[in-house]
Symmetry: C2
Subunit: 329 residues, 2 copies
DNA sequence: GGTCAAAAAGAAAACGTTTGCAATAGCTAT
DNA sequence: ATAGCTATTGCAAACGTTTTCTTTTTGACC
């Protein structure tokens, strides 16, 4: 029923070898004339390549697997776009599979799926790799890279922002604006990924350098979500005495913003907020959120490049974008 | 290097047939004892199935292809989650390919990619199918369904909201609240998809039933984006006389909201806004946006069900969610 | 026209599964 | 013990490509 290379060969009056060579552009093993003929009949017959067969024959895949944790989706789109663009460049296709949210079993299964498709490399998007996952990954002999999250475990390569630097710069920025009582909201320090712990370390470092010891209540943990922002603000309370907060993500920043609004705390007049991520969300709230912006698109691009060229551990750039949510003391 | 079914067979002292049957759970063609033995050796050797080979042999795929237009990404996540959940249910995996934004060639190529992987079905997410795409799709003999967008072309099955009804209900809701001068912002009526035209028709129908003929300037076209919302509000101007607007999407709604804010127009006191989509974005702006909420997750679920069961054209439910952006006259 | 190298084309094996069919082993009923 | 089952196992072909190795064709040169 489906038309194969064989049908094309027959119709064009050549061997399947020739058809294969023409259709996969294998240099100059054929004449221009036959090439034209083959291409035309292929077109006419509506031939579609069978990737499964090709990959089986060549023993290599033209696909990269992307495993994505669907929780923090507001920046993963940018990463995926970066991946997609660079993949196109290398004539690769991306197979994206969702790992659910916080479901260890589903996540394991997602990894399994891409491995079984014997992709040439795996990109892990905000995936909190477990020991089991790691074992599976290593056994499969397929290169993999974590995107946007760093791990202590030496064997996990990653491409991400330098989270310590993020925490440090965000906090320093506020210090430079004259703030002294600075909070940190929404970070998660329980995960395998180092993200939360590193940002916290950066925050503490900047504060320490300024001779400030943060009160315990200045630091509110959470899962980077909008609700975590709301909760953090509630924990801070209406009269915290704090003048500025570093939000662990844009969503946390917005949660903070809205709860502050409910409390009648004006941003940035009464409270300054700087959020981490710098996605488009920052621009659609009022006031717009000043942010430490990460280079998500670039992470995607660099991810596939690293897969192509061998492993690399690398930080992507960050920059502070000033909008309207921070005011000097 | 990679361990195959053959290695497992050898190590376990059985034929590859038996291994194949055990590992793919083919009923009771083997004894419990051998099954255990095979499974154990497979595990020990770190065997991973080669999906390409399996799909080639069975002539059928356990994957569905999802082609997604990356523009309107704020609701596609929900759809994808629905797809993913239902796919898991059916032991299917989803291959997601991005079609870029408004790049006809890249879109065509994305469709090509999933076809070449001979998936068992294709889901098109907010893809504005062109004539060329359609030809390709039809020729491939693979069932496909458009999600979230309907087309006039009879041959394109779709699962989406009833856009006429959306426009009608949104407008009627405002009419019931006593509004008379009602605008419509951000719709696109140029595309192949009927979305924009249907919503416009619903809007006009509701107005007509109330005996109102909309002024030309009440209707502002756009591409469903945040900027389209900003632009629309600018076109409306500071003194439009309108008391309510239907926004073509949440992003448009937020654009409207912010530009209104800049003009010193209070929402909902001076202007009511109802937006179409009802994603989480509605809840993170101030005031929260009242919306006609679409069942995106359900679209995803129904999409893979339809692919499993044969084609269906079907509308998913919509409902109005009252939040803070509409006020009775 | 004959020689020879280069270019073009083809035959066949290989990739790792699944599966129809054949073969064997293990029973039960005689 | 034997025929006749059934439950289990194995052989070998098939899936649609790619690629190595051979063979054929072409055409440039004398």
């Amino acid at each position: 029923m489906t038309v194969t290379i064989k049908d094309v060969a027959q119709a064009a009056g050549v061997s399947i070898t020739t058809v294969s060579r023409v259709l996969s552009n294998k240099g100059s093993f054929y004449s221009e004339k036959t090439a034209r003929k083959v291409k035309k009949t292929a077109e006419k017959l509506g031939y579609q390549k069978n990737t499964a067969a090709a990959e089986l024959a060549t023993q290599k895949s033209k696909a990269i697997g992307v495993v994505i944790n669907s929780t923090q989706t507001n920046f993963s789109n940018s990463i995926i776009e970066g991946i997609q663009q660079e993949a196109n460049e290398h004539d690769l296709s991306a197979i994206i599979v969702y790992a659910g949210v916080g479901d260890a079993q589903m996540q394991h299964r997602a990894i399994q799926t891409v491995i079984e498709r014997s992709v040439k490399g795996i990109l892990l998007l905000s995936v909190d790799v477990s020991t089991d996952d790691l074992a599976l990954l290593n056994q499969a002999q397929i290169p993999y890279i974590s995107l946007s999250q760093a791990f202590t475990d030496e064997q996990i390569s990653y491409i991400s922002s330098n989270d310590l630097e993020i925490g440090y710069q965000a906090t320093s920025y506020l210090l430079n604006k004259g703030h002294r009582k600075i909070g940190l909201a929404g970070i998660d320090v329980q995960k395998n990924a180092m993200t939360g712990r590193n940002r916290l370390a950066g925050y503490e470092k900047a504060l320490a350098e300024a001779g400030i010891k943060p009160l315990k209540k200045w630091i509110q943990y959470g899962d980077y979500s909008y609700d975590a922002g709301i909760d953090a603000m509630k924990k801070f309370g209406e009269h915290s005495g704090m003048t500025a907060v570093v939000a662990a993500s844009d969503m946390v920043g917005i949660g903070l913003l809205n709860q502050a609004h409910d409390y009648g705390i004006a941003v940035p007049d009464d409270l300054s907020i700087i959020s981490i991520d710098g996605t488009d969300l920052c621009k659609i709230v009022q006031p717009q959120l000043t942010s430490v912006t990460q280079a998500f698109f670039e992470m995607g691009v660099e991810g596939v490049r690293a897969l192509e060229s061998g492993r690399t551990t690398k930080f992507t750039s960050i920059k502070i974008e000033e909008r309207g949510s921070v005011k000097p003391m």
